[in-house]
């Protein structure tokens, strides 16, 4: 599957909040396939960059342009938030919710919701309230909800933060499978090991600026900036 909404071009994108610059100016082009991992220390602007790409943040300067500028461009994307949004519904209804918005009949939406839960390895009572799920299960629920529309581009903000190794491995399995089906994935992570395992490309941010980009292999073999090198090595940055 080749996305019809890519490439996404960011031209000198800058975000400011309460007079303070939190991102940018950032220019980049997102195209092709695979997994792009956004790395950087806390406050570097990873979440802001993902949200700006997805259209959740008001851009103060510059612009983000998707291919074709289609009206439904956001409907062809999905976003998994670091803290999953728990709707006051059952697990199954939470997963099937995007399809309900699309006008899919409730019975069909729920059947596809069950399949999506199976796909991400969410083996819980689907009729239970979503609030009873553990942290890892909530993240899987959010992933199933994001994947149920078969998005062309999937954004994930720290999808494995606070998860144990088993849950992390399961989520990485789902992401790898989605990538193999042609879903373009852009995700942020603090986990250097996870970035090594998943990244086809790296975007490294520092102090709101994109200071290094390149293939995952090249980045980890020889980072070009002292900040990236320190981040990979786990050194304390000033």
């Amino acid at each position: 599957m080749v996305s019809a909404i890519l490439p996404l071009v960011l031209e000198d994108v800058e975000l400011r909040r309460q007079g303070k610059r939190i991102l940018g100016p950032v220019s980049l082009t997102l195209e092709g396939e695979g997994i792009t991992v956004v790395m950087g220390p806390n406050g570097a602007g990873k979440t802001s960059l993902l949200r700006a790409m997805h259209g959740l943040e008001r851009i103060n300067r510059g612009r983000a342009v998707w291919q074709g500028g289609a009206e439904d461009v956001r409907a062809r994307q999905a976003f998994v938030f670091q803290t999953p949004v728990l709707m006051r519904r059952s697990v199954l209804d939470c997963i099937a919710y995007p399809l309900i918005l699309d006008g899919v009949a409730r019975r069909d939406a729920r059947a596809r919701g069950e399949a999506a839960a199976e796909e991400v390895g969410l083996h819980v009572t689907l009729s239970a309230p979503v609030s009873v799920l553990s942290g890892g299960e909530r993240q899987k629920m959010a992933l199933a909800r994001a994947l149920i529309r078969a998005p062309e581009v999937l954004f994930l903000d720290e999808p494995c933060a606070n998860l144990d190794l088993h849950s992390t491995a399961e989520i990485e399995r789902v992401l790898t499978a989605a990538r193999d089906r042609g879903t373009r994935i852009v995700m942020s992570t603090h986990n250097v090991g996870q970035a090594r395992r998943l990244a086809d490309d790296i975007l490294f941010l520092f102090d709101g600026r994109l200071i290094e980009t390149g293939s995952g292999d090249a980045f980890f073999a020889g980072p070009g900036t002292p900040e990236a090198r320190a981040h990979i090595n786990g050194d304390l940055l000033p």
Binding site: D72, R89, P98, L101, P129, V130
Partner: protein
């Protein structure tokens, strides 16, 4: 103390013997109040949700007015509705004065701000939780409001019940626009006022106890039907 005991005793006797007069005014109370609550909920719940979800000029002003209207004096509402519906008023041709419809209109005006304000508060908190998700999923404005109303239905039921509670106990406005006419517009609260005026405290208290029992019964029935406690897990 004797009056209270006698009132309780008389209330029990009226209920047990299914007193026709009591049944009539109780049913009219329910009919007027439930109708007013349904209409006010149909207006107030979407209004509260709309204000919570949308950003517009004068939004803060609108919220302040809504909150202020929660304390609307019923007597003043009754007076305004009376003037509007009186023979010489702009709506006099409808001939609604001293009918249950006039009482419903007055109650709707009194409780709509209460329902809208409480629902606005509940939906605003839910909207803060759902905002990013609904924007991300490309939900239309109508879909957002529908989702918030559905997922916040238990809090919204509380808003409607608050409106019901205010309406069932209301006396000033409906006395003015209804006239407390026997077999026509007499309800529990106006009957209580009448009996108190006549000095029949026992009967007035009996009607009061029936009114309280009615309000509790409606609340309990709605909570049981909606499974509030079962659903409180989410």
């Amino acid at each position: 103390m004797n009056d209270i005991v006698e009132g309780l005793w008389q209330a029990a006797r009226l209920v047990v013997t299914l007193d026709p007069g009591l049944a009539e005014i109780t049913l009219r109370s329910l009919q007027v109040t439930v109708t007013a609550t349904v209409i006010a909920s149909a207006i107030g719940l979407p209004m509260g949700a709309w204000i919570a979800v949308n950003r517009f000029r004068l939004r803060r002003f609108a919220i302040a007015i809504l909150n202020a209207l929660m304390g609307l004096p019923p007597v003043v509402v009754g007076l305004i509705v009376y003037v509007l519906l009186s023979r010489s008023g702009p709506l006099g041709v409808l001939g609604l004065l001293f009918t249950p419809t006039a009482m419903i209109i007055a109650q709707v005006i009194i409780i709509t701000p209460i329902i809208a304000s409480i629902s606005h508060q509940a939906i605003r908190e839910l909207w803060a939780d759902y905002h990013d998700l609904l924007i991300s999923l490309h939900a239309t404005r109508a879909q957002r409001i529908k989702t918030l109303l559905w997922d916040g239905r238990r809090a919204l039921m509380t808003a409607s019940l608050a409106g019901f509670g205010r309406a069932i106990g209301e006396v000033g406005a409906i006395m003015i626009v209804g006239g407390n006419i026997d077999h026509a517009t007499r309800v529990l609260t106006t009957a209580i006022a009448l009996e108190t005026g006549k000095g029949d405290f026992g009967l007035a208290l009996a009607l009061g106890f029936v009114l309280i029992a009615l309000a509790i019964a409606v609340n309990l029935a709605l909570h049981m039907l909606s499974g509030t406690e079962r659903g409180s897990r989410w």
